[in-house]
């Protein structure tokens, strides 16, 4: 690419906490703390921040943050559409475009989550208004084709692609167990991870089913917390104090005929047992002139462990159907794996803040992870599979 490369020059976060523990602070307070920490990490005066980007219907916007921080000039504020953490790297696409074009000089990508402030997972469904009611007043709603049949939560939805993957390829729940064990082993080294007690394959096999084949130990957490990172141009990055992390490429997009809200399960049959990221991965690598073999560490969206199996296939690390054996035979651990995955412990064991895995990708390139991969030059970071749009990025030294 002839275009000037955008760079990441600062990262910030709040403490991560279990659902509800930071509710008293509110998302705005968390976001501001993360933004301030990102600027401090970069050694950049807060006044220099002139843009914000986020994703997934974030209730906060750049105007709110600029007002609270008293910024002298807000030049850019944008949000990438998409559900959950799917378009987390879409926000990086926006920030990168903004600094490349000169729309803004220092753009903060941020995410703050207070679980109970948003309609999330099962909790919003319960209560006296639940039974016998219309799914929604929106006649275009997709959930009218799923909720009347008891398909209610992400774990249940993602169990469907996992089950078909098992039927098509012989993938086993033990493959999923290997992912869970590896995530927890990584988290045990990470002081900010919330779930650090090591687990075994036996622990996984004894874990109760949430939605068969997905067990409790296949599920990510639900957390309160915030993350932020600062994007600028390579030229401006030279004046700052941290090692520069280059954005080799960042892409957002969707598989043809992949529903934005997958509740009705009407992706094409041929794509059903995938995460819907394969075309995007080809674009990610092709435009960057990088191959999957060049990737030193992958920070993948492990909302549920079967997604790691499918992501490995979508992203070209192995062929369709080979994700399970890849995990067992090639390995995904930070010290022994052919492809270390989620060296911070993932959403599974570090925290679920939609963007904390991006911060880990930056740490790996900086060389500051608590499970540092040797000679780590290229990191791949992924948004939630199974949605549209979803997103991917390649970070490099």
């Amino acid at each position: 690419m002839a275009r000037a490369e955008p760079c990441i020059v600062g990262i910030g976060q709040t403490e991560y906490a279990f659902r509800g523990q930071l509710a008293h602070r509110g998302a705005l307070s968390l976001a501001l703390e993360a933004v301030k920490n990102a600027a401090a990490d970069a050694g950049l005066p807060i006044d220099a921040i002139d843009g914000f980007a986020s994703f997934s219907d974030d209730p906060l916007d750049g105007g709110v943050l600029a007002f609270e921080l008293g910024l002298p000039e807000l030049r850019y504020s944008a949000m990438a559409w998409g559900g959950g953490g799917a378009n987390a790297m879409g926000a990086l696409v926006l920030a990168a475009d903004a600094v490349r074009s000169g729309s803004a000089n220092y753009v903060v990508v941020f995410r703050a989550i207070i679980m109970d402030e948003t309609k999330r997972f099962g909790k919003s469904l319960s209560g006296p208004a639940f039974s016998g009611k219309r799914t929604t007043s929106d006649p275009f709603s997709m959930v009218q084709f799923s909720m009347p049949f008891g398909l209610l939560s992400p774990a249940q939805t993602y169990a469907l692609s996992a089950r078909r993957h098992m039927a098509l390829y012989g993938t086993t729940t033990e493959h999923f167990g290997h992912v869970a064990v590896a995530m927890r082993r990584h988290a045990a080294r990470n002081p900010i991870a919330l779930r650090r007690t090591p687990i075994t394959l036996d622990d996984h096999a004894a874990s109760p089913f949430i939605a068969d084949p997905i067990r409790r130990l296949d599920c990510c957490q639900e957390n309160d917390g915030a993350c932020a990172y600062l994007v600028t141009t390579a030229e401006r990055a030279r004046d700052l104090r941290r090692p520069t992390v280059r954005v080799l490429n960042a892409v957002m997009g969707g598989m043809p005929r992949w529903p934005s809200d997958p509740a009705s399960q009407n992706m094409r049959t041929a794509d059903f047992a995938t995460g819907g990221q394969a075309p995007l991965a080809r674009r990610l690598f092709g435009e960057a002139g990088v191959k999957p073999d060049d990737v030193d560490v992958a920070l993948l969206f492990d909302n549920f462990t079967p997604q790691i199996v499918m992501s490995l296939e979508d992203l070209g690390f192995c062929k369709p159907g080979e994700g399970g054996p890849f995990i067992v035979d090639q390995g995904i651990s930070w010290d022994r794996g052919k492809l270390p995955i989620n060296t911070h412990g993932g959403l599974h064991s570090e925290a679920y803040v939609h963007m904390n895995h991006v911060l880990e990708g930056i740490r790996q390139i900086r060389g500051t992870s608590t499970a540092q991969v040797a000679n780590c030059e290229i990191a791949l970071v992924a948004g939630t599979p199974g949605r549209s749009p979803t997103s991917l990025a390649l970070l490099a030294r």
């Binding site: 909720m147 009347p148 049949f149 008891g150 249940q156 078909r164 949430i210 047992a273």
Partner: protein
Amino acid sequence: MAFFPIPFHLPSLEGPAAPYWAATREGRLVVQRCADCQAWRHPPGPVCWRCRSANAAFEPVSGKGEILSYTIVHQELVPELAGVGPYNVIVVSLAEAPDVHIVSNLVGTPNAEIAVGLPVEVVFEVVDAEVALPRFRRVEVSS
């Protein structure tokens, strides 16, 4: 017999899916189809994904298909589900339109016997005067 002892959220009876639910109430499964290029589409929407025509009709289908995937739900996510589960959720790929997937439940077969590829056919559970939900039962294949 009702699949769930307490009816869950019910579909919208207005908007593009109204003919779909009107048909299920009459005991018919219909799928929206482009009147110009004949592409099936589901959930119902305003234009054809293939030729972008706005001309469409709801065509009856046999209600036969196969289980594309399924899950057995153990978690009692809401109070109304206390003691109900484990219950199944299936995704049916329709015989006439394999890319049309119907999320539903399998009735009359133990959860342990559910499998990907199992042939099924539609049955209707009348919920009230306005709504009937399409569910599925196993089809015994003669050898």
